[in-house]
Every structure is written in C-alpha cells, then in structure tokens.
C-alpha cells in the first residue's frame, strides 16, 4: 500500500516531465546498448582468438626432450664422489625421442578423474619429394578420433573427410599451404622421405588449414600406424602424449606431478602461452571501460533531471511533508524515479544491445586465416546482459541517491514561508 502510493507519486512526477525523463532513459539505453554490443563483440573475438590456440593446444604435453644426461658416468664413480668434476662439451648420445613406458602413462592418466581426454601423437621430420626437390615438413601421427574429440581436428580440414585418415591406409592430410606449393590435389599420391631415409607413398585424402600460414606450410597429418610404418617403428612408439583437463587451471600442477612420477618432460599450457591471456584481458578491459564511462555520463544526466525535478517540485515536496509524508517517503519517491529510469533504459539497452549483436553477427568476415568463420564472432553470454542491467541499476541508484537525500531533507517551513 505504502510502497504503491510512493510509486504512484513517483510515476506521476515522471510523467509530468516525460520528455526529460525520456532523454535520461535514452542515455542509459545508449550506454547499455554499447556495453552489450561491445562486450559481445570483443569477447566473441577473444573466444575466437583464444580458440585458435586453446582448441589445438593440449593442456599438458608429455614428451622426451633430446638433451644430454644430467648424470655423467664420472658422477657414478665412488672414488671421485667428494670432488668437483668438470666435463666440457657434453652431447646427447641417443636419438630416442619416444616416451618410455607410454602404456603405463596412458593408463595412469585415463584413471585420473581430472583428465578430460588423452591423445597420443608422433611428431617427425620428413621431406615431401616434389619432382627433383624436397620440401621439409612435419608429419603428425595422430589417433584420428581422439584428436578430433579433443582438438576439433575436423574443423580445420577444409577439403576431404578427416576420418579417411583412419579408414584409408597410407593416407595423409596435407597442410593447405604445403599442398599449394606441391600443386597437389585431393586423391593424389605424394612421396615422403623420413629423416632416416625411408621412403613411402601416401595418398592425399584432404587438406588442412589452421589459420597460421607458417604452420600450414609444413604440417601434415597421418594416422599413428602410418607414421610408425614410415619410421619403421613398433606400435608402442609414441613421441607425445597430449592431455586435456576438465579444468585447465590445474595444468601446471598436474604437469609437474606426472612429469616427476614418470620421469618424462612436460609442458603445460600456461607456460607455453603466457601471452594469450594478456590480449584477452586488455580487450575485456576496454569494453568494460567504455561501457561504464557511458553509464556514468548517463548517470549524470539522471542526476541533473532529478535535481531539476526537485527544484520544480519544491512545493509538492513541502506539502507532502506537511500532510504527513516522512523524509523517508520522499527519499523513496525520488529513488523510485531514478531506478525506474535505470530499469526502463537498461531493459531497452539490453534489447538494442542484443539486436546490434545480431547485426554484427550478420556482417561477413571471411579470411583464409580462419576457415571456420564466415561472419564476425559475437558472444551472447547472458552474464554480460546481467552485468549490464546490474550496472545500470547501480549507476542510476547512485545518480538518484544525492538528489533524493536532498529532497528528503527539504524543510517545508522554509518553502511555505517563502510563498
């Protein structure tokens, strides 16, 4: 009852000044629209750019780095144990890049509840033999289905069907740029030479485009079995184990744990790509700054309107107080006015923000670097809409706070005496 009455009074004061009120509300609408559109667009871009890296990067990679042994034979000698031993020009002696005991690592990881999935891989240097010349390249031997599940492999296969890699023996999916260089079509056969000189004929079943030109010039994919055959290795030969976690923040910790458990080298995502977060953060920051700046400007608009309203409605405030409305009622009335402008403007802001997002979403954005994208990316995360109205309400509340307090403190005696 009491709230309704205050609301009713607020509403009629609002209507009495509907033009100014509308302008104030449009200010809020505009800033929320910009906020939503900007944030949606910026985070859409963020997700896209992060996705470029995140989608295809394992959270943890287990591998065996070629490096000289830390423990040299001299260190094992009992006699020389207490002395300092200097050895110059130490070189690694074995070429073994395969991970020892892969099956144990894989089974341990697959039992870990924090692990989302595992994909073994073989990376090896090759030469593509094109006529008289050889082009250097890298073949990734992959477990096709796992690779697709964890790293969205099929998204980047721009020609041919990715699953042929598994179904057709001795097949290869070439990097698009490499294929262009070799003038190869899908269905052709290319000859590949391993680093050890083994030659093998592979059937091209598709092209791969990652969006990173340098990568596409060298990278190709084959099945693990095909790669093992090329290298003349047994089926236990695996050079990398890639892991995706349910929570990527755990990567450094788990990498360390399993690394020391299995005595194998590890790399975690955070260490490899420490810079990608920076860009994301800057873009998000810009969007928030612009949105909030606009809101504050709109807030000042509301502040002005309310101040003006209070000067105009001095008499009304005085008589309300004289007839029994308390300072708190008057305060509530003006806060209600302010919040109504905020909510009204904010809701329309959300709507227009959504429409502009939709519009941006329609604008074609075709680039060979990003084969999976055809229009500008937009993020419709409801969180931004929620933050948008919350900000609108908070700002308008503060814009109304001081005028409302001033109105509540008006002394009716002074006003009435002034007449």
């Amino acid at each position: 009852m009491k709230f309704r009455l205050n609301w009713e009074i607020a509403y009629s004061l609002l209507l009495a000044r509907w033009k100014q009120t509308l302008v104030a509300a449009i200010g809020v609408t505009f800033s929320i629209t910009m906020f939503i559109a900007l944030l949606g667009f910026m985070t859409g871009l963020n997700d896209l750019l992060d996705g470029l890296i995140l989608n295809r990067t394992p959270h943890i990679k287990f591998f065996n780095e070629i490096k000289p042994s830390k423990v040299q034979p001299i260190d094992l000698s009992e006699k020389l144990k207490s002395s300092f031993n200097f050895i110059e020009s130490v070189k690694p002696n074995t070429e073994r890049v395969e991970i020892y005991n892969v099956s144990a690592i894989m089974s341990a990881l697959s039992k870990d509840k924090r692990v989302l999935g595992i994909a073994p891989k073989i990376t090896t240097q090759v030469f593509y033999n094109v006529g008289a010349i050889d082009i250097t390249g890298v073949i990734n031997g992959i477990e096709v289905e796992q690779e697709n599940k964890l790293f969205f492999f099929s998204d980047y296969v721009v020609q041919g069907n990715y699953i042929d890699l598994k179904n057709i023996p001795n097949s290869i999916i070439l990097g698009k740029a490499a294929a262009d260089k070799m003038l190869t079509k899908v269905g052709d056969v290319v000859q590949v030479t391993s680093a050890k000189g083994e030659r093998i004929q592979l059937k091209v079943v598709g092209f791969f485009q990652s969006g990173l030109q340098d990568l596409d010039k060298v990278q190709s994919y084959a099945s693990i079995a095909t790669t093992q055959k090329l290298l003349g290795q047994t089926s236990s030969y695996i050079t990398d184990v890639q892991v995706k976690l349910k929570d990527l923040n755990l990567a450094p910790e788990l990498a360390k744990y399993y690394g020391s458990l299995f005595n194998v080298d590890t790399e975690d995502l955070q260490t490899v790509n420490s810079q990608f977060e920076t860009g994301t953060r800057v873009r998000t920051l810009i969007s928030y700054t612009v949105g909030i700046t606009l809101l504050i400007v709109a807030g000042f608009g509301i502040y002005n309107i309310l101040n003006m309203m209070i000067y105009e409605k001095m008499d009304s405030i005085a008589i309300l107080k004289a007839t029994g409305f308390s300072g708190k009622d008057v305060n509530n009335i003006f806060i209600t006015i302010s919040l109504s402008i905020g909510v009204f403007g904010g809701v329309f802001g959300l709507l227009f923000g959504y429409l502009i997002s939709k519009l941006i979403d329609q604008i074609p954005f075709v680039t060979s670097a990003l084969p999976t994208i055809s229009t500008y990316p937009v993020n419709y995360n409801p969180m931004y809409y929620f933050i948008g109205v919350t900000f609108a309400i908070i700002t308008t509340y503060f814009a109304g706070f001081f005028p409302a307090r001033k109105a509540s403190k008006i002394d009716p005696v002074i006003i009435i005496r002034g007449k």
Partner: protein, 226 residues
C-alpha cells in the same frame, strides 16, 4: 466534557540569523475540542511562526507542546509525520495542490498515506468532503484546471480527509478575492457549527475573527489577549 486537544506551555523561539531575535515569548494557551479559535495580530508579530511550531513542522523551540495529550518533543521525524498525517489538517495561504494529480487524488493523498481505509473507501470519503463544498463536479479535473477559490476549497477538503483533531489555517483566505474569501469563511463557520470541528485560524480579517468562538491576539511575539 471538554477535552484538551492542544496545549502550549512556555513556548519560546529564537531566530539566530541574521541577528539573535526572540520571536515567540512565553506562549501559554490551550485549545479544547470543538473550539473555533482565530489568531490575529500585526504582520510580523509571529503568528505563522507559532503555527509552524504547533503543526510539528518546526521543532526548534523551547517549552512544551502537547497534542492530544502527548508531548511532541523528542519524537522522531517519522513519528511527527504520522502525527501530522493523522491529527492535523492544514490550510495555507497558498493551496499547494499537486498539479500532476486530479482534484480527487489530491484530497485522497493524505488518507492513502495513512492507510486506515481501503482505496475505494478513501475515494468515497474524498467525494463526500468535496460535496460539502459543492466542488465534487471538478473531482476528475487536474488540480491546475480549476479556479483559485475552488483550489482553496479543495485544499480544505484535503485537510479534512483524515478527520483530524484540529485544522490549522494560516490566512487561508489571504490570497482570495472578497467573494471567495467569503465562501472560505462560511466553510469554516459550517465546519465549526455542523461538524464541531476544532479550528485554529490565523487571519487579519476582523470580520472573520468576529465570527469565531475565541480570538487570540498577538503582539511582538506575545499573546496579549485570549
């Protein structure tokens, strides 16, 4: 049986701006239920100042003020607002109607605030009050669409809506022409005679004061006759 509605004991008030000024001096009086009291005195003698104190809008004074038996000193702003709402009706020189609202709604507002009756009942009561003054036909007009005399009658109806213990008026006909002030004057007479409404009206019209039960005369901040 004559119940004391308003009691002022040793009320003193000072203004400090621009110079210390003793505006009300040792004010003592009581008003009992059903009395029609007028306050007269030269301009500047402190009549309005006294009325603002009696109405609880001005709490910056010395002495004791009892309304309906309760001492108002030390009451919070909210409590005073409630007392004004429930027990006191005002009519000022200026009507102070809210132009955003209809005549009817203006009359209803203090009752809606009090919340003692349902909205339908309040509306019904408001129309009854307007009928007393023959202005119910304007009920749905906006407050700024009626004449000055009518506005003042609406203001009186508004003062009556919560059936207050006392109605206070500060030169309620001061802004009106002869004809309209006559109407207002007759309204107060009727309220006193027919409805036994307690009234305390400041006026400078000798004809008006002559028609009241009791005349209080003020001079230089003192009551010199009551």
């Amino acid at each position: 049986m004559s119940k004391i509605i308003l009691q002022a004991e040793n009320i003193n008030k000072f203004f400090h701006n621009p110079l210390p000024f003793h505006v009300l001096k040792e004010i003592n009086f009581t008003i009992t239920r059903g009395e029609f009291v007028s306050v007269i005195g030269k301009s500047g003698c402190g009549k309005s100042t006294l009325l603002y104190i009696l109405s609880t809008m001005d709490t910056d004074f010395q002495g004791t003020l009892k309304i309906d038996g309760t001492n108002i000193s030390g009451k919070t702003e909210n409590e005073l607002a409630l007392i004004r709402n429930e027990k006191i009706g005002f009519v000022f020189q200026f009507h102070y109607l809210l132009n955003e609202f209809s005549v009817l709604k203006n009359v209803m507002l203090p009752a809606l605030k009090l919340g003692k009756y349902s909205e339908e009942e309040i509306e019904h009561r408001a129309i009854e009050k307007l009928k007393i003054f023959g202005i119910e036909k304007h009920a749905l007009k906006k407050a700024n669409q009626i004449s000055g005399g009518e506005k003042q009658r609406v203001a009186i109806a508004r003062a009556l809506i919560n059936d207050p213990l006392i109605i206070m008026g500060d030169e309620p006909s001061g802004n009106l022409d002869k004809h309209n002030s006559q109407i207002v004057f007759e309204i107060f007479q009727r309220l006193a005679k027919e409805f036994h409404q307690t009234l305390l009206i400041v006026t400078h019209d000798p004809e008006f004061s002559a028609g009241t039960d009791r005349v209080m005369e003020m001079d230089d901040g003192r009551i010199i006759r009551q």
